[in-house]
Symmetry: C2
Subunit: 349 residues, 2 copies
């Protein structure tokens, strides 16, 4: 039996309970959720009696091997993650804000304390991408990582095309369906995608990169129904694509709406789905596709990390930069296409 | 430095040399190919001096930690793999025939000798699928694994559609381009796909399943240009899909041409590419896409396994059947659609 604590019993934290509770496979079915940290109480919940608002109880309980951080935010979540690692507990998180801002420090503290800091769920929801990037491309030089990393904007762009809606109309439907938040700025402006490509490119290129240092972050605010119709005439769809690629000794990283032609699998990514494309010098292009958000998919990724910790099957989190002089650059290899209305878009293939 | 031996210096074995030679990352750049076992000699090759035809030299050299089996066939390749494992050497292979026929025994012998038998490259070429199936879905019950697992037939079906070619004509082009072998029977009849789905479903469902026990293996022999045109009128393409799914306490496994609608990402899989779809109860559908064959993509997968061995980051290969009474069954959940010419096809979604 492995004792864990869940910090934050919201959408993802609740999903982690659901997945563990339903699991019939070792080692996950032998995981015991000993504590749930939340300021709210859950009297009706089957394990509502495990809820505490006292983090020190969790830190001082030596039987707790893994702390699952599903709180969100980057202040208390960071503080508790750091304390847990320093107390010799492994930390598993879905919190991309903390990974982006403090990942380098938290991974270092984890190593110093003989534990791990894992964050598969922070990018692409249920899509396994961090572990494969760490584990499966080891023999290969990664030339490019690109992704449709934000479900909200992909849902909006899909429905602007299929229903002829304006951005505002499609956004409203997305909000009604729960695909978009009340304040959709981070999604629409490309900041959510930027955080995720920063995490992915950091692993791919062996450097910690914060989204703050990405030179070009462009959202979908200026994409119009007309653009989408004109793109369609060229056999293209418009997608918000985050691209990180090697250009000589530079890493070019950007987030922008792209025209995507039929030869790319990204052309077929619709609704709120995510996809990540990884191009290696030997393996060529590999694409990972799935649900980029949602309670159970994200929780499944968290539980995959929990299983990795228990099975002691964790990739070395230390990053070795591939080259000296690896400089961020936003120009990249972008090709541009001008639509009939004069607007220029980057082209993704 | 890690000493390895490559058995069979053909397409894949040669690719393994290429990938290791080009690698600039640890631990792969520190791998030393100490022996190459082949009956041919390669006097012009940069490491032609490492070639031997004496397997006993490799077995008796205690400094060899990993044996890479890229010979093909299921007789000598099996015998040498078994001997290597018994001599306490890890074995990494791309040989699906041996994995299908002897995987259970070889994994057991590996465990008994404290080493591993890894075969990421045996399914889907460069697509990381075995490792994610073992590692990333640990928290989840896998409901279905399905795949376009054979590049030759997918190339043929794509070009029957795009160029209006007959099966024989498209096959001839595929052979000229090196996508199809001189004797294409194993591909066309679905046997290659069957071997691969047997390996995948064995991992997904926790049982060893040989392709011989798959109750329904149907190839593309009877797919006509007319069928493809009629399917197109329904918004579908025809693809050779291998499907393994849980139906109650049974596993339904089959290989057959399917009508694939636009809502499935398989609709967009063209040319000689492969794709694998994994559906988990929590994570939903996840799809992995890439080059299913070829020297460098397959070698990249082999090298990923080599790296896992060196980094001691290998999933436990022991399979725990999820349920008692897990019985093979070919009926599955197949839905059928009848084309305008009266022919019935299974439908994949």
């Amino acid at each position: 039996m492995t004792n864990i604590a869940i910090l934050g019993f919201g959408t993802v934290g609740g999903g982690v309970y659901e997945v563990i509770n339903a699991s019939r496979k070792k080692p996950l079915c032998e995981v015991n959720i000993k504590y749930i940290l939340d300021l709210r109480s859950f009297p009706e919940h089957p394990i509502g009696d495990r809820v505490t608002n006292d983090f020190s109880k969790i830190i001082s309980d030596e039987s707790v091997k893994i702390v699952v951080e599903t709180m969100g935010g980057d202040t208390v979540a960071y503080k508790f993650s750091l304390e847990a690692l320093k107390a010799g507990k492994n930390v598993v998180t879905s919190n991309k804000a903390v990974v982006d801002k403090y990942g380098e420090e938290l991974e270092r503290v984890a190593r110093e304390n003989g534990v791990v800091y894992l964050y598969e769920a922070s990018v692409g929801g249920g899509i396994p991408i961090i572990a494969p990037l760490n584990n499966c491309f080891a023999g290969d030089e990664i030339l490019r990582v690109a992704g449709i990393l934000n479900g909200t904007t992909n849902y909006i762009l899909t429905h602007m095309q299929s229903d002829g809606k304006s951005l505002d109309e499609a956004l409203k439907v997305a909000q009604e369906l729960g695909y978009a938040e009340a304040d959709p700025h981070a999604d629409i402006a490309g900041l959510d995608s930027a955080r995720k490509i920063a995490i992915l490119s950091g692993i791919a290129f062996g450097k910690y990169i914060s989204y703050n240092s990405i030179p070009h972050i462009e959202g979908i605010e200026n994409v119009t129904s007309e653009d989408i119709a004109l793109a369609d005439q060229l056999g293209c769809v418009i997608r918000l694509v985050a691209v990180a690629e090697r250009v000589g000794d530079k890493a070019s990283i950007l987030v922008a709406p792209h025209l995507v032609g039929k030869n790319s699998l990204f052309h077929a990514i619709r609704e709120a789905f995510n996809a990540v494309s990884v191009t290696g010098s030997a393996v060529g292009e590999v694409v990972f596709y799935g649900q980029g958000a949602g309670s159970l998919p994200t929780a499944a990724a968290v539980c995959g990390d929990i299983e990795r910790v228990i099975s002691n099957r964790v990739s070395d989190s230390e990053r070795v930069p591939c080259e000296e002089g690896f400089i961020l650059n936003g120009d990249g290899n972008s090709k541009f296409i001008t639509l009939a209305n004069g607007k220029k878009y980057r082209y993704f293939e």
